[in-house]
C-alpha cells in the first residue's frame, strides 16, 4: 500500500463552487504508483486529519469536510488509506451515512 496521496493533503484545494460539488481527488483513486515491493519508497506517516486540526464535530451537514473521505465510487475511504484514527473514522462513517440519507452525498458514483 504505497498510497501517498492522503485526502488530508488535497482537502485544502479551494473549491468555491456551491452548485456543482466536485470532491477533490481523494486517496484510493489517485496515487497508485507503488512499485513492486513498495518498500523502496519513502512513506510519510499518515496522520488523522481530525486529530491534527482538532476538528471536534464531524457533522453530516458539512459536505465540504466529508467529501475528501468519499471515493469517486461513493465508497467511504478506509482508514488504512486515509490515515484517520479509529474513533474519528467511526464518527466519520456515521456522518457520511447520514449525509447519504439526505442526498448530500451519493450512495454510489459521483454526485449526479
Amino acid at each position: 500500500m504505497a498510497d501517498e496521496t492522503r485526502p488530508t493533503s488535497t482537502s485544502s484545494a479551494p473549491d468555491g463552487h456551491s452548485g456543482e460539488r466536485r470532491p477533490p481527488r481523494s486517496g484510493p483513486g489517485g496515487g497508485r504508483e507503488g512499485g513492486p515491493g513498495g518498500r523502496k519508497y519513502f512513506r510519510r506517516k499518515k496522520v488523522c486529519k481530525f486529530c491534527v486540526e482538532k476538528i471536534d464535530s464531524i457533522n453530516y451537514k458539512d459536505v465540504r469536510l466529508l467529501a475528501p473521505f468519499v471515493a469517486e465510487s461513493g465508497k467511504i475511504v478506509p482508514r488504512r488509506l486515509s490515515g484517520v484514527c479509529t474513533p474519528h473514522q467511526r464518527r466519520l462513517s456515521l456522518a457520511i451515512k447520514q449525509a447519504r440519507n439526505i442526498a448530500l452525498l451519493p450512495f454510489a458514483g459521483r454526485a449526479a
Binding site: 460539488r21 471536534d56 453530516y60 440519507n101 439526505i102 442526498a103 452525498l105 450512495f107 454526485a111
Partner: protein, 132 residues
C-alpha cells in the same frame, strides 16, 4: 425529559414561498402543541441532490431544530411523510453530541490556562504551543 433533535427535510424545488411558510408553521405548531420548543428554523436554500429523489435533481433544504420527546419526532415524521411536497427527511438527535462537544471544549480551555498539566489524549503535543 427533553431532548434536542434536528430535523432536516427536503421539499420539491418548485414549491412556492408561501407554501413553504405554511408547511413550516404547521410543523412549528405541531412542536409547540405537544410540549416541545422550536429552537431554530432555517431555510438552507436550493441545492443539488446527490442522487435523484422522486425524479427531482434539486431540492430546497430546510432545517428545524427543536426540543421535545420521541413521540414528537414520530408525529413530525408522520406529517412529513404524508405531505406531498416533502421528498426526503432525516431526524437526528443532537443533544448528546452537543454535550460531548461542550465537554471537549471545556477540557481544551482548561488546558490552555494551565499548559504544563498532564498531557493526555489528542491535544497533548499541541497544548503548550497554543499559549506560547
Amino acid at each position: 425529559m427533553n431532548r434536542t433533535y434536528e430535523l432536516m427535510f427536503i421539499v420539491r424545488p418548485d414549491m412556492t414561498e408561501e407554501d413553504q411558510d405554511k408547511l413550516i408553521s404547521t410543523l412549528e405548531t405541531a412542536v409547540t402543541s405537544s410540549g416541545g420548543q422550536v429552537k431554530n428554523m432555517e431555510k438552507m436554500g436550493k441545492r443539488r441532490l446527490a442522487y435523484t429523489v422522486r425524479k427531482f435533481h434539486d431540492g430546497m433544504y430546510m432545517l428545524l431544530t427543536f426540543e421535545g420527546g420521541g413521540g414528537l419526532v414520530h408525529e413530525l415524521e408522520r406529517r412529513l411523510r404524508v405531505s406531498e411536497p416533502v421528498i426526503k427527511f432525516l431526524s437526528v438527535r443532537i443533544d448528546e453530541e452537543q454535550k460531548r462537544l461542550a465537554k471537549v471544549k471545556a477540557l481544551r480551555d482548561s488546558k490552555r490556562k494551565v499548559p504544563p498539566a498532564t498531557p493526555t489524549a489528542e491535544a497533548a503535543g499541541e497544548a503548550p504551543a497554543v499559549t506560547a
